[in-house]
Symmetry: C2
Subunit: 326 residues, 2 copies
């Protein structure tokens, strides 16, 4: 941890009478949990705190202590001290530099390797599993004890970004921090239920339709699910709701690559890729103008569903034939 920068960020926060905190669009458990934990800590130090997110807090995160204080309209007059949490750049909060007060002190706390270091002080720790890990260190640096409310936010941040300690960003340290957070009296069952268990009926129906026409290729190494425009329309489901469907394809025994084709419009296909152990879907997605990570990536194609399926499946089948030694 870059303790030196963290110290300086803490001392900027300590001397500010009021602070505005920012978290990114399409908020998740890490950006909101981290922002709220830091906000609660600053309130304990007697600061006036603004908690800003450009979007509405999603229903499954509205249990987070402090969530009801989140605003999505900027205050008329922003404080001089601004702290951005989990944001790679200002566009992630739909802001431009010109909207911020002149001479504002911009504090940038993040764990994304692609962070643009846009702050006056930048604490970017890409080895942290979640921004929540860095905020936890910052709160301890500020001398604010972890209470149940702060711990609930930080614990949520960590389990969101590690998939409950399953993803490769989980480190021994992540577990030790989780142990400390548990000792602050969080309600484990109810947090996990809110974060991981809440599917809408529309999501369940999308899953059912997806499974109904699941297809396997390459001796079962490739699993493909397709959702057509009418599937979304008939259920009345937004496209984003289909996110979990691809994991059901990925988790089938013997499958290395899973693909979800979503027909947004007749000539606009969005494609999600997941892999399990070795297939680099980031490289694959890049061939179709997309990108992401080794095990999760995506792209968009402006062709028909049939054309998209054909070329993508063919490309994956070829890669699978060359195989792992590649």
């Amino acid at each position: 941890m870059a303790n030196d920068v963290l110290n300086r960020i803490a001392s900027e926060l300590r001397k500010a009478p009021e602070v505005a905190l920012f978290s990114h669009i399409s908020p998740d458990g890490d950006c909101l949990g981290s922002m709220l934990a830091l906000g609660l800590a600053l309130e304990k130090l007697g600061k006036r705190v603004f908690l800003y997110n450009p979007d509405t807090v999603p229903h499954n995160l509205d249990f987070l202590p402090g969530a009801s204080q989140v605003i999505n309209v900027l205050p008329e007059q922003l404080p001089q001290t601004l702290c951005f949490v989990d944001c790679t750049d200002l566009r992630r909060v739909n802001l431009e530099l010109s909207q911020l007060p002149e001479n504002a002190v911009i504090l940038n706390v993040d764990h994304h390797i692609s962070n643009q270091n846009f702050g006056t002080l930048n604490c970017v720790e890409s080895t942290a599993s979640a921004s929540g890990e860095i905020v936890m260190a910052l709160i301890q640096e500020l001398g604010v004890p972890l209470d149940q409310e702060i711990a609930t936010n930080l614990y949520t941040a960590i389990i969101t970004d590690t998939g409950s300690f399953q993803y490769s960003n989980t480190k021994p340290k992540t577990h030790r921090l989780a142990a400390d957070l548990m000792e602050s009296g969080i309600d484990l069952l109810s947090i996990h239920h809110r974060i991981f268990d809440q599917k809408s009926l529309a999501q369940v129906e999308l899953l059912r339709r997806g499974l109904s026409q699941l297809k396997l290729y390459s001796d079962g190494q490739l699993a493909v699910i397709t959702l057509r425009k009418e599937d979304f329309e008939e259920i009345g489901a937004a496209e984003g709701l289909s996110e979990g469907v691809i994991n059901n394809a990925r988790s089938i025994e013997g499958v290395e690559v899973a693909v979800l084709f979503k027909e947004i419009e007749p000539q606009k296909i969005r494609i999600g890729f997941r892999s399990n152990l070795w297939f680099n879907v980031n490289e694959l997605a890049a061939r179709f103008g997309g990108g992401g990570h080794k095990r999760a990536a995506g792209c968009s194609m402006e062709v028909s569903l049939e054309e998209a399926s054909q070329s993508v499946i063919k490309a994956i089948e070829e890669e699978l034939r060359i195989g792992r030694s590649h």
Copy 2:
């Protein structure tokens, strides 16, 4: 931890030239991981070790280091020192006392509160999330360092019984042990993939059929899935494969109780219950001659599917009407 008993168990193991280890029927990640970890540690101390399980090692656990050495036939001559891991009583290994050598030293290491203390020495720690936690302490007591193979087994034991640190048996200590195990160089991604991600095609088809006739009651607080005899027959799926289906019902927004009816025979219905936050399904199952835990229970009924559904759904609807204050 009952350190005194653990010390005495360690000293029995230290003086034995050969040891037989036992794990329970329908083996899971905890009993196998715990047995194999202890077996590997004892081999490092130069012991001859027998690793016994009455059943075959399931496919998703055959990656565990040492799994290929597991036998399911008792050796002609059992050693004098026997260690049972994660077994509440001898019936869990399909054994009777008369099958064991006279004057055998029986070591009993378990975390089930219902353990029958059938051993010469009994280390039963019901606060441990998994038997793997106790075995880890035992291995450290034996002075054997955690290597990658031992750690892989112990880590698998812990994530199996805690659902990757999600269940209420997860304690701060569980996380601290996981941190230590990670430092021994385990392959996190591949373990989680093997333990949690491997569904067979038959399981996926059962899920699809289950979701196709999901029904909600009590304003969406009760979700019911039914699988008929012909569903299992047409897919060629064993009944046990439907285990994950109920979780899809439990995880729907607003659902407190989920029920899965499985028609084994026309007059033999097996029923699974899950609840999320407050409904005591153990009490409910007990009313129908079954049992389990507060959040997961089950029962069997020798009536038609229609009769079973009717009486069980009615009972739950009534409980839900009385509500949480009850």
